[in-house]
């Protein structure tokens, strides 16, 4: 069985494949496994924004896809749309729009968001419908399954699964514990 070392490597931001905000050298690495149609991930989205503002350069944040497609019929295409936007250089812009519009995630909505972001909406939707990013989303999902993700959102702080509630205060306390200093 894989030891803790390999698990933590799996759940640290990987600059070669992950979408990352902040510097990889930052002392706190936060990885989220999330689903664009999950209401708890929607709540976590604004909490992460607040935490990023508070911590600035001390935080490196990576988002990986963990769509629960049986519960959330739009989650897979939404995840692939974010990846498709990433292929045009605007992953985070699409990520934000999706979380800000969780109740409007059908394919037409996705095309509209692409147009709003001045992306090639036709290309984005074609890629989603052709499954161009399906494997990538699946790879995220599989890494989560192996890393101990047991629902969404699941966070890893410096490679270790965070067990507390997804609120800003508790996350900041956990960061402080991880760094062994107050923030």
């Amino acid at each position: 069985m894989s030891g803790p070392a390999s698990i933590s490597r799996l759940t640290l931001p990987d600059p070669k494949r992950d979408h990352i905000q902040g510097l990889i050298e930052a002392p706190i690495a936060l990885v989220e496994y999330g689903d664009y149609e999950c209401p708890y991930c929607g709540e976590a989205y604004s909490i992460i924004k607040a935490i990023q503002e508070r911590l600035g350069g001390r935080l490196c944040f990576a988002f990986r896809n963990f769509p629960l497609v049986n519960s959330h019929p739009h989650a897979q295409h939404a995840a692939e749309a974010a990846e498709a936007a990433g292929a045009q250089g605007k992953f985070w812009e699409m990520h934000d729009l999706l979380f800000e519009n969780q109740d409007a995630l059908d394919d037409e909505d996705l095309a509209q968001y692409a147009a709003a972001l001045k992306l090639d909406a036709r290309r984005l939707i074609d890629e989603v419908l052709a499954g161009a990013h399906t494997a990538r989303v699946r790879e995220d999902f599989r890494s989560g399954a192996r890393g101990g993700v047991n629902g969404t959102p699941t966070f890893f702080i410096n490679g270790v699964r965070y067990e507390g509630p997804p609120d800003a205060g508790a996350l900041l306390t956990a960061f402080a514990d991880a760094l062994n200093q107050t923030l």
Binding site: M1, N70, N150, G151
Partner: protein
Amino acid sequence: MAKPTTQNHNGTALPAGTPAPDFSLHSTPDQAVKLSEFRGQPVVLAFYPADWSPVCGDQMALYNEMLGEFQSLGAELLGISVDGSWCHAAFSRDRKLHFPLLADFEPKGEVARLYGVYRQSEGVCERALFVIDADGIIHWSYVSPVGVNPGADGILSALEELQNQPEVK
């Protein structure tokens, strides 16, 4: 051969290396599933306390999403609780589950007792996982604290060990 492993917090669950007791339980009001029918492929038995309690929902929903991973490792997944088959049918429909839920309903908890994972005081199963190999031997077992979703990584590791294990017949 990979060493079979067992971790459990209650200490009564059948350990790795034990033959998995055979059983036949209803998966729907008019269909039964017999464990020995799956001989020749690994089986994941996921005992859980109750259909509608929140953590179970998440756990079964997670396994539902991971069916493709389990199947690619050749395994069949069976959920088991003491709920009746009509309750399972409603729960399964509500959560769009694509694997059987077995009703350990009459005599209540009999199969859970056979595997050492029945909670007498509450009248429900432990949250317990068993990975059974193609010959019907328990390869890995794990009992999680009842309120904690054990996730799927332990199951995946156990199934991969089975797949990488050389034939010893």
